[in-house]
């Protein structure tokens, strides 16, 4: 869409006031669409490849994170992850066509972020400041945010005419209300477990997307352009 706006600029005969107004609109448009994300035009395969590598990295780190988490919660923490909690995002990726599935991935990334943040906050009160768990949780948040931006860019590149809804497509999952420490432990374990499962699915999804979407990029682009 940014490209869309750029094309508009030279076409207008502008006065000083109109130029100012146009600038404001341009900034507002960019903010509303990409939320500050600057997407560079990259080849499809390259962008997906980066995302895939990033996903693999986060997935690997999430497994380590979950392991560290369990160790840090005391005995019987293995059972915590087997509990079922409703408020934690579902790891499954929904949608039928690639655009919907890409959008689901993006939404999931965004949905997991507040939960990861909450877990980090809760563990901050439980773990010593030097704990590796806290640093890993912080890293997971940052990388997930980066992955969400990457998915956003890919989505914008592949489907330039499809807007990204502001709310997660799978419905919002609110962070749980105040819990006691025991419930926090259970909650955190479930969040991290599902986060890991989600990343596993994202890895498969991106691999599929890379093989399918990019080879037919032209077709999809044409289709979207037509739509």
């Amino acid at each position: 869409m940014s490209g869309h706006v750029k094309n508009m600029c030279p076409q207008l005969p502008i006065s000083q006031a109109a130029r100012t107004l146009l600038s404001l609109l341009l900034v507002a448009a960019i903010d509303s669409v990409s939320a500050g994300v600057v997407c560079r035009k990259q080849p499809c395969g390259s962008s997906l490849q980066i995302s895939l590598k990033l996903t693999k990295l986060i997935h690997k780190e999430s497994a380590d994170l979950l392991k560290t988490y369990k160790v840090s919660q005391g005995d019987m923490s293995e059972l915590f992850c087997q509990m079922s909690i409703n408020n934690v995002p579902d790891p499954n990726i929904s949608g039928l066509d690639p655009s919907e599935r890409m959008l689901s991935i993006y939404s999931h990334c965004k949905a997991f972020l507040p939960h990861l943040k909450r877990v980090t906050e809760q563990q901050t009160d439980l773990q010593p400041p030097s704990s590796s768990l806290l640093s890993k949780l912080s890293t997971a948040q940052n990388r997930t945010n980066g992955l969400a931006n990457q998915i956003n860019c890919i989505y914008q590149t592949l489907f330039p005419n499809l807007p990204i809804p502001p709310e997660p497509v799978d419905g919002p999952t609110s962070v749980p209300p105040s819990q006691n420490v025991f419930q926090q432990k259970v909650y955190g374990c479930v969040v991290l477990k599902r986060f890991k499962e989600f990343l596993s699915r994202v890895t498969r999804e991106l691999r599929t997307l890379k093989s399918q979407v990019c080879t037919r990029r032209t077709t999809f682009a044409d289709t979207n352009a037509l739509s």
């Binding site: 919660q73 059972l79 509990m83 901050t124 773990q127 432990k185 259970v186």
Partner: protein, 957 residues
């Protein structure tokens, strides 16, 4: 969460359960009203409005009714007094009527602390009680009204405030079940009615829950957890830290377990849950604050800095960690062991209180101090030291320091050696350092404190490094090493402290020659000593500051006389050397040393005059190396060799091996052992001797040893060694043991057969010579021998009538009487060649001669001498064979054996009925020649008579 039931239930109960007391109540109330000038229903209003206090009370318009019924009340009063006197007489609790019980009872709780707070107001009747009033407080489990706590609370009647507070901590979390509280007042034996139950409702849940929630408890305490189940649920388990615990049923769906906290919990707390890991709680276990030793001071004269020891770790982190307040002001969040606050320091002595608080307790530490007397200065900054005049300057960051009388420590660090110097002054900012060594690098640090009211030394400044100026070197320590026609002038390199700078070169002056030697070379070779002027050598060291004092040594004109070395034993890695005083040692002694058998550079030490002992120590000393130590007397001329020693710093077992061990048999029982000793250069200790070990290889346990002193040659004869196979080894004997084992040598000793043969031959030869000599002697003295051995036998005397010729037969009769008895036994002997025939036929034993020639018979008699099988010499004699000695010459034969033999013959003859019958004598029947006597046993003498007669006569032939 909980509810508090407030009402006038007590009053109602009083009326219903004890009607007699209703009068009491009425009377009591009336009495109170009279005393207080209050209406009766005013009290009822107060019960319904607990917040109303006595001081808030205001008379109402209904007072007119009171006055109207005054007569009635007086009546009732008198009536009640009457009834009360009756009750007292009956022993009842009549004064109880006077106790109306606690008023305005309210109950509150703290679920986190599991604490119940009860507040009530005084019993209105307490003002008339002269002594203290007691309130009984009871805590009950609401569901079954089981008392869990009961307590009597003393209340002084003269307390200004009529509102009382009481609290109690429940071991069981208050969520586990409902708790109720009630009170009553008591005075002596009189009690009021119980106040209405005030109930704290327990928690109900649709799923399992565990309480207390995230509690913090102290190590070594007991804590009660309860599990509240949902309706219809059944307890499956309760686990603490993954340990299945025993539970107790409290009531309905509530179960409890008690856990003893033995050790601190990890930061992530300990998990407790029941039935499902989804619902549980977490418990933190730690310690209350254990801080101690609070000390407050000031660093900058603008603030106070208090520090303390944290003591035992609380094991509580994050929100549960210890928080500190200093004099009521919170310390920074990350405070651990010190707290800083800006204050005025000129307030004189004051108290500093540190409050340490965590969920398990609060601790207060106090320190009293005048901060002006507790100044610990900050570190000096910008410390600069000058290398020229060794002055040190620094700055103070705080202007306030410039007016302080302070004392400063200046620490000089020179190659690890610390030199501390103190200086004082007002606002001290520079000092001058004296006595520093030239051309040395120093690191200087400064710290200061107040000279007046000294509290503590301040912080050390950062180190500043500088170097002092160079100075001329110290004089060199010079010595010499004489080798044949060469002399090496040696000097010790100067240490850093001696060189006073970088040594550029050494100047060696020898006669008119001058040579420059550059470091690191520190020796000079003089090969020609022929010139007289060449015996005086001067050496100086030069650096940028100048030349050192010349060091002079005089080379002896002639080589030193050789001295016999004495042994010396080292100790502790050196030698304790002593020597006799030399009359020429005017300037002391010089002791030099070197390994005896290897080339080296001499080391030496100079000993002042008058001292004749020295401890010789060197880093180059090695154990097991022989050193030669030479003691020179220092004279105004050349040094004189005075004494010499040889020894080891420490003797070691010989490492070299004894070589060429050989064993050689010398003689039948002598072995010569020879070997080559350990070369002197390989000797690691003085060898006192050698030990020869040998044993018979067929008997390895028969080890023998033989000591050989070093005075003996390296060969030894071992004698008295039986012929066998031996194994020989030789070891060197030193003061530290045996060593230098040689390789074993085996020797098989052989018997000396040649010598045996020689001995036999010699013996045989000797015997032959002896025999020859005897033969010769016998030959020359044959007659004598013959006379002795063969005495002449006299011829028999023939009688004519006896010796009549026999006609027909040609036989002659031998007269026995005329036979001379012989010493030699005459026994039966074989008649050889049939010359004599013994006729033993049927009592006709007669000695017959087949030949009629008597001389022939004699000749045979004299010649036949043979040895019988029994060893007896026998003569084949006709006499023996035929003489009838039993009758004729029984006394002639002296020898018993002769007697025996003869007797035997005689017996034999007798046995056969022999009778000398000359007439019947006849020539022997030729058939008798084949007869032989069968040997027979003799009874007593054991002789075996063997008469063997063979037909060997020519006739027979």
């Amino acid at each position: 969460m909980f509810s508090i039931n407030i009402g006038d239930e007590n009053f109602t109960r009083c009326q219903q359960s004890k009607p007699t007391l209703s009068v009491c109540h009425i009377v009591a109330h009336a009495l109170v009203l009279l005393l207080n000038n209050r209406p009766v229903y005013g009290q009822t209003q107060q019960l319904s409005r607990p917040e109303t206090t006595e001081t808030d009370y205001k008379p109402t318009p209904n007072h007119g009714i009171f006055y109207g019924s005054n007569i009635m009340l007086v009546f009732l009063l008198w009536a009640s007094l009457f009834l009360s006197s009756l009750q007292e007489q009956n022993g009842q609790d009549a004064p109880g009527v006077l106790l109306s019980g606690p008023q305005n009872v309210s109950v509150d709780n703290d679920l986190k602390d599991q604490r119940i707070y009860v507040t009530w107001e005084d019993d209105p009747s307490s003002s008339r009680v002269p002594d203290k009033l007691i309130y009984d407080v009871e805590v009950l489990l609401t569901d079954n009204m089981t008392e869990v706590h009961s307590e009597a609370v003393d209340v002084r009647s003269d307390q200004a405030s009529r509102k009382y507070h009481w609290s109690w901590t429940s071991a069981l979390p208050l969520e586990c079940t409902s708790h109720s509280v009630r009170l009553r007042s008591r005075y002596q034996n009189y009690t009021s009615q119980w106040s209405p139950l005030q109930t704290i409702t327990g928690r109900a849940s649709s799923h399992p829950q565990v309480f207390p929630n995230s509690s913090v408890v102290q190590v070594d305490s007991n804590i009660t957890f309860c599990c509240i189940l949902g309706p219809g649920q059944r307890l499956e388990y309760m686990k603490y830290n993954n340990i299945l615990m025993n539970t107790t049923h409290i009531i309905d769906q509530s179960y409890a377990m008690v856990v003893h906290m033995q050790s601190p919990s990890p930061p992530s707390c300990i998990n407790v849950f029941c039935n499902s890991p989804l619902y549980g709680t977490c418990v933190y276990v730690g310690y209350p604050p254990g801080d101690r030793n609070l000390v407050c001071e000031t660093r900058d004269l603008e603030s106070v800095r208090c520090h303390w020891d944290t003591g035992r770790a609380t094991n509580l982190t994050n929100q549960r960690k210890t928080h500190y307040h200093l004099n009521g002001r919170a310390c920074p969040n990350r405070t651990v062991s010190n707290c800083y606050q800006t204050v005025r320091v000129d307030q004189g002595e004051r108290n500093w209180t540190l409050t340490a608080r965590n969920p398990l307790g609060t601790l207060e530490l106090r320190d009293t101090a005048d901060l002006k007397k507790r100044v610990r200065l900050l570190a000096p900054t910008e410390v600069v030291a000058s290398g020229v005049n060794a002055s040190v300057q620094w700055q103070w960051e705080r202007q306030q320091y410039h007016i302080l009388l302070m004392v400063c420590q200046v620490q000089l660090n020179h190659s690890g050696h610390i030199d501390m110097r103190n200086y004082s002054g007002i606002g001290l900012r520079s000092v001058v350092l004296h006595g520093l060594a030239p051309a040395q690098t120093y690191t200087v640090q400064v710290c200061c404190g107040l000279k007046q009211h000294f509290w503590k030394w301040g912080d050390w400044s950062k180190g500043s490094t500088f170097k002092t100026k160079e100075d001329i070197p110290e004089a060199l320590d010079v010595w010499m090493q004489v080798k044949a026609n060469q002399t090496i002038i040696l000097w010790k390199p100067l240490t850093v402290n001696q060189s006073h700078g970088q040594i550029k070169d050494y100047e060696v002056t020898w006669g008119r020659q001058k040579t420059i030697i550059h470091p690191p070379q520190n020796e000079f070779l003089i090969s020609n000593r022929s010139t007289d002027e060449g015996h005086r050598v001067t050496v100086t060291a030069n650096n940028s500051a100048g030349s050192s004092t010349p060091s002079i040594i005089i080379i002896p004109r002639l080589p030193h006389r050789s001295k016999t070395s004495m042994k010396i034993v080292g100790s502790d890695g050196g030698f304790d050397l002593s020597w006799s005083a030399s009359p020429n040692a005017s300037c002391g002694y010089v002791v030099d040393w070197c390994p005896t058998h290897t080339k080296c550079r001499l080391e030496w030490v100079k000993v002042p005059a008058g001292i004749t002992r020295a401890r010789i120590q060197s880093a180059s000393f090695e154990e097991g190396v022989r050193y030669t130590l030479s003691i020179y007397a220092c004279t105004p001329w050349a040094p004189e060799l005075w004494e010499r020693r040889e020894g080891y710093v420490k003797e070691c077992l010989p490492k070299g091996q004894i070589q060429r061990l050989a064993a050689e048999q010398h003689g039948p029982d002598t072995v010569l052992i020879s070997w080559t000793g350990i070369p002197p250069e390989n000797q690691t200790a003085f060898i006192h001797g050698y030990i020869i070990y040998y044993f018979d290889t067929s008997h390895p346990s028969s080890l023998r040893m033989f000591n050989v002193t070093t005075d003996e040659p390296w060969a030894k004869n071992l004698t008295g060694i039986p012929v066998s196979s031996y194994r020989f080894t030789v070891k060197a004997l030193t003061s530290v043991g045996e060593g230098g084992d040689s390789s074993p040598v085996f020797l098989q000793m052989n018997p000396q057969t040649d010598q045996l043969i020689t001995v036999i031959i010699i013996s045989l030869g000797s015997a032959a010579c002896l025999l020859t000599l005897v033969t010769i002697l016998c030959y020359r003295n044959w007659k004598c021998v013959k006379e002795n051995l063969y005495p002449k036998i006299p011829k028999p005397v023939w009688k004519e009538e006896w010796l009549t010729p026999l006609e027909g037969h040609g036989c002659q009769i031998l007269y026995v009487d005329s036979c001379q008895p012989s010493e030699i036994d005459i026994v039966c002997n074989r008649v050889q060649s049939g010359e004599a025939v013994l006729d033993n036929n049927a009592g006709k034993s007669a000695l017959t001669n087949t030949n009629s020639d008597v001389p022939a018979l004699h000749g045979h008699y004299n010649q036949v001498l043979s040895k019988t099988t029994s060893g007896h010499f026998t003569f084949s004699s006709p006499h023996a064979m035929c003489s009838p000695s039993s009758q004729l010459s029984g006394t002639v034969i002296q020898n018993p054996s002769y007697n025996l033999e003869v007797q035997a013959c005689l017996d034999m003859g007798q046995s056969v009925g022999y009778e000398p019958d000359i007439n019947s004598s006849s020539c022997p029947n030729p058939e008798l020649y084949n007869m032989s006597y069968v040997p027979f046993e003799m009874d007593s003498w054991g002789y075996k008579l063997q008469c063997h007669l063979e037909a060997s006569s020519p006739l027979q032939e």
